[in-house]
């Protein structure tokens, strides 16, 4: 019966010892590997500015509330799927054009920036606050998860990141089950395209929304039209529309009104011949969400749209 007594004594002792040894860790100082070397962040940052849509999404998903963000491509503010969750947020520029003075005015203690931030820009940003420019390989199936993990680490909310990823995976599995019951196995081939007046852009199968589609049981295939490391193909000639002829086509539009874009596309004679058009399986989707956004909240929003499309 010695064991319980020893245990009672040992626990606080060990804790005390650990506290002494790892004092800096308990004050929560973390090192994040970035494109421009390791960045050290202390505590849980309060005032966060995100200069990348994926960072805004990840930050909100793990419970942080950024004070500044850039507009989404083609919009006047943040993407509409995240507008409510973002709440009152200052706009500090457009993708690729940050207004540094607006960032300074917010007095951030952490900046989460896009992967393509130049070194010169990084030097300036890092003098305003610790700046995280991730060096994560883009257009992979788990890019968003690795980004989320690192952003969450910078935000001091690493534990939340695991929960969030689990939630997204569960939801994907749920939608996947529905897809598998509704659609026969040989009819799950899908293309994700953006419609331009001269023809379609085929989006890369590694693009964020395409990986979400894949996780929901669709077989996304860019037919090798997209070169490595690119988000999408060049606009295809209408004569080559058959290259994207699939049972399902998700038509991401440049603006939020997808139906209008679908009508425009349907005017093209070649479009009418697509299998998916004849069976009514061309689904117009919000381009700001499907081709510009990334992150766990975007994944959930996309999964919701997929689920709705099945009905």
């Amino acid at each position: 019966m010695l064991y319980p007594i020893r245990h009672q004594l040992a626990a606080p002792l060990v804790a005390l010892l650990l506290a002494c040894l790892y004092q800096p860790l308990l004050a929560d100082t973390r090192t994040i590997p970035t494109a421009y070397g390791d960045v050290t962040v202390e505590g849980q940052p309060e005032s966060i500015v995100t200069l990348y849509e994926g960072a805004l999404d990840s930050a909100i998903a793990v419970g942080a509330q950024p004070v500044g963000a850039i507009i989404t491509r083609g919009g006047q503010s943040v993407a509409s799927y995240i507008e409510e969750a973002a709440g009152v947020i200052e706009i500090v520029g457009a993708p690729g054009e940050t207004n540094l003075e607006a960032v300074i005015a917010l007095q951030p203690d952490l900046i989460l920036a896009a992967a393509r931030t130049s070194e010169e820009q990084y030097q300036l940003l890092s003098r305003i606050a610790p700046t995280v420019v991730l060096a994560v390989t883009p257009y992979q199936h788990d890019t968003w998860k690795r980004e989320l993990a690192l952003f969450a680490r910078a935000l001091g909310r690493e534990d939340r990141a695991r929960d969030v990823i689990e939630r997204v995976e569960q939801r994907a599995a749920e939608v996947r089950r529905q897809v598998e019951t509704v659609i026969p196995e040989d009819q799950r081939d899908t293309a994700l395209v953006r419609w331009m007046p001269q023809g379609p852009l085929v989006m890369a199968e590694g693009l964020f929304s395409a990986t979400v589609l894949a996780s929901a049981g669709f077989e996304v295939d860019d037919a090798g039209l997209v070169s490595e490391g690119r988000p999408h193909s060049q606009p295809l000639s209408q004569e080559n529309l058959s290259l994207m002829d699939r049972n399902w086509i998700f038509l991401a539009t440049l603006n939020e009104d997808g139906r209008e874009a679908l009508e425009a596309a349907r005017q093209a004679p070649a479009f009418k011949r697509l299998v998916a058009n004849e069976s009514g399986r061309i689904l117009p989707v919000d381009g700001t969400l499907w081709t510009s956004a990334s992150g766990p909240l975007a994944a959930l929003a996309i999964l919701d749209e997929i689920e709705a499309a099945l009905k």
Partner: protein
């Protein structure tokens, strides 16, 4: 009736050889544009379609995709060629080309405004485009008349280039103001006849008919005007009225072409240049020759645009610029500049 008129014109002008060569070329380029494309339907697949046979896929590509494009190309090519010839005769400047002088620029700017405001109907676009072309044309003519630019071909072109640059900047401002419209405008501003719906073609036809009538009316007076203002007045023409009619015709033609294909530069320069080289300076002969040469050039450029970068396409405007700029240089080198 029309055929006899045509034949008598041919006989009286005595330039049947160049005209028949030009017609031969337009037929060749038209067939080529039906046979070659960016897609998997090859010339060998497409050829049987011309004789009413061929696979279903090939028939679709040839009749539904390449044929409408062919028609659009013909209309655009001849509109720009005629407009160029008219403008050159009017300003007596071989470099007076709608694209260089800011007429296309005005038209493009107007359409960009319309796209930004959400206009989508073809009729609306045509009207807006023609209004813009008229404004651009008037500005150029105003500059010509008030500063004696007509006497100096280079100054006219410089003035036009300046106006064009200005309009392009303003169009860029619109693109920044609304990035949603930006992709649409950026596509359109490079010029292309891919996927132009036939409804657009129907929308421009009435104004092209009007322009055609105007051209028939002004052709002879314009030829007289080239002998000098006094001679023309002596022959009973009114120079002021002729100028107004020519400007209206040019605006209608350029506006229609721009509404169909976006601002295409140099077509209106190259085609009349070739026509004059073949048939001499008489504006009536030039106009006749422009009818086949314009479409031939445009179809050639469009076929190249499809084949070079398959499976995607190059913007047509880029090809016409690459073809046209060297011709501009040749005209300059030839030293025959101020002879119109």
């Amino acid at each position: 009736m029309a055929a006899t008129l045509f034949r008598s014109t041919l006989a009286s002008c005595a330039f049947a050889p160049p005209l028949s060569v030009a017609v031969f070329f337009v037929v060749v380029t038209a067939v080529a544009s039906l046979l070659w494309g960016a897609g998997p339907v090859s010339a060998a697949d497409a050829l049987p379609v011309l004789f009413g046979q061929g696979s279903e896929e090939a028939r679709f590509v040839v009749t539904e995709l390449r044929l409408p494009r062919l028609v659009t190309g013909i209309v655009t090519g001849l509109s720009l060629a005629i407009a160029g010839a008219l403008l050159q005769a009017l300003t007596r400047n071989p470099l007076a080309e709608p694209g260089l002088l800011g007429v296309s620029g005005g038209s493009a700017f107007a359409v960009a405004v319309a796209i930004l405001l959400g206009a989508s109907s073809a009729t609306m676009t045509t009207l807006v485009s023609q209004t813009g072309a008229l404004a651009g044309c008037s500005l150029v003519m105003l500059a010509t008349r008030s500063r004696g630019l007509a006497a100096d071909p280079v100054r006219l072109v410089l003035a036009g280039a300046t106006v064009t640059g200005l309009l392009l900047s303003l169009t860029s401002v619109l693109m920044l103001a609304d990035q949603r419209a930006a992709d649409e405008i950026r596509f359109w501003i490079t010029g292309s006849i891919a996927g132009t719906p036939l409804s657009h073609l129907r929308a421009v036809l009435p104004s092209l008919v009007v322009a055609g009538i105007l051209v028939v009316i002004v052709a002879s007076p314009l030829a007289a005007l080239s002998l000098g203002e006094r001679t023309a007045m002596g022959l009973g023409h009114r120079p002021g009225r002729i100028r107004v009619l020519v400007i209206v015709a040019v605006a209608l033609l350029v506006g229609a072409a721009t509404a169909l294909a976006g601002p295409l530069v140099f077509v209106g320069l190259v085609v009349p240049y070739i026509a004059r080289a073949a048939a001499g300076p008489d504006i009536r002969k030039t106009l006749w020759l422009c009818l086949p040469i314009g479409p031939a050039l445009l179809l050639l450029a469009d076929t190249l645009a499809r084949v070079i970068a398959a499976p995607s396409e190059l913007p047509l405007g880029v090809i016409t610029a690459l073809i046209g700029a060297p011709v501009l240089l040749i005209i300059v080198r030839s030293g025959r500049m101020p002879t119109l």
